[in-house]
Amino acid sequence: MLALIAAVALLPLALANNYHYEIAILVGLNAIVCVGLNLLIGYAGQISLGHAGFFGIGAYGSAILAARYGWPPVLALAAASAAAAALAYAVGRPILRLRGHYLAMATLGLGIIISIVIATEDRYTGGPDGMSVPPLALAGFALAGERAWYWLVGALLVATVWLSLNLIESPIGRALRALHGSEVAAEVVGIDSARHKLLAFVLSAAIAALAGALTAHYAGFITPGKVTFLHSIELVVMVVFGGMASTFGAVVGAAVLTALPQLLTVFKEYEMVVFGGVMMLTMIFMPKGLVPTLAALRSRFGKAP
């Protein structure tokens, strides 16, 4: 935890220009989504291939309320996150009874339905062309500039990680891990598995929506590209890549997979090939994900005399 705070606080020393800040902010926003998603996938063991949908509800909900109805952006952001949480609650109750690949399909379908609605209802969303989003402002003071955004996103990331770490160590976290191990066994010891799965689902959806709304206000523009199922899969890949059931793994996974494509632009047309190759090699040689594998290595060498 301290390491994360130090990293967020010291990183600006290494950031030379606005482009670096921009990438750091995108990393932070993705990391927030992944920490939330990790609660669901890594701890509760329930897959979701539809979180870009909640991200999109946050982004478009906040954008539409602020741009078309003149809501104050902060209020719009909160309302959009609440709407995503409400949808997750309503849909989560029936579909979280599904298991494994069937749950993956159901969440995938949900995400795709949301993205089709967003791409089609162009009266509100601007359709495939996207829509512009007013900047974030509170009490007449607009949040502008890469630096201000960096500190906001950094603080939110630290808060999300803190929330996640605390939740995992609480009775709720223990219940989530128990039902990951075996749902039947968890129920036998008195854990209401449906309620806990739903809690993780709603929480991760609300966090994704919050990050989505922030992304929209930060970029000032949003297109349906951010809501496609490819983005959902990207988010899951970040969580698994960094290491499932590791909060810092989710942060590292988001950081590596957000920054990597930026670095790979030097490969031009080979960018996708290198990206796919790196992903495959990492998972082949570090099947548990980056952070758990590196942690295991460190403890092994730490024990050596």
């Binding site: 897959i47 579909i95 009874r97 599904l98 399909m105 075996s182 495959m280």
Partner: protein, 291 residues
Amino acid sequence: MSAQLVQFLLSGLTVGAIYALVALGFCIIYNASHVINFAQGEFVMIGGMATASFLGAGLPLPLAALAAVALATLIGLALVKFAVEPARGASVVTLIIITIGAAILLRGLASIVWDKRIHALPAFSGEQPISIAGATLAPQSLWVIGVTALIVAALWWFFNRTLAGKAILAVSHNRLAAQLMGISVRRVLLVSFGLSAALGALAGILIAPITFTSWDVGVMLGLKGFAAAILGGMGSGPGAVLGGLTLGLLESLGAGYLSSAYKDAIAFVIILVVLVLMPGGLLGGRATERV
């Protein structure tokens, strides 16, 4: 029956047959390894794109198609050899992420080796439409439906009447027991990935004259195949066929009678409802968890 309805049913069956082929590919790999192969759609892309490029190099269509299927099969085998086998012992989720990486890699390679343009294949036997009960049917649709039916029959024969097919089924039921009976799980993996790749490539070749092909068609077709496999019940062969045809018909009827912009959304809403009512898919087994 109105001519319009017949038209929607025919186009639904055509697309549905392709989804069924892709779904069967998912199904075979799932049975052998419990992995959802997210690179399945890329085999479909490779089938269409490779055929187009072999045709461009002057090969006749049947030969070009054969070469494309062979190429896809080789890539499927390479995927097992260089990605799935080295990661032995990794969890299923990790293996799935590896196949996602492979899909990105293959898409990237396709855009370099070939190009990012849209290609069309000529129809196998002319463009002269056939008239059925007032509706028109492209001869290519007959090819799609006919070849799919043949493949389904051949697969049924393979899995029920040959030793190799039964060995794959045995591994899908109980890996350890199958191994103890002397079945090489390694070879089963190779055969099932090769077979799935060939099926995917064939689907890509069959559909290319109707919907065209390009380096990124695999994403959508893979997604639809996965949806069809789940709808039918993951791991069930008849389920994959039923799921594929149902999905194709849902899309075509939804586009025709409700809204073409929302045709995919309509299909996915119905899939969600089916899953909530039947958590194991249409023909899936009622699995129980062992504690």
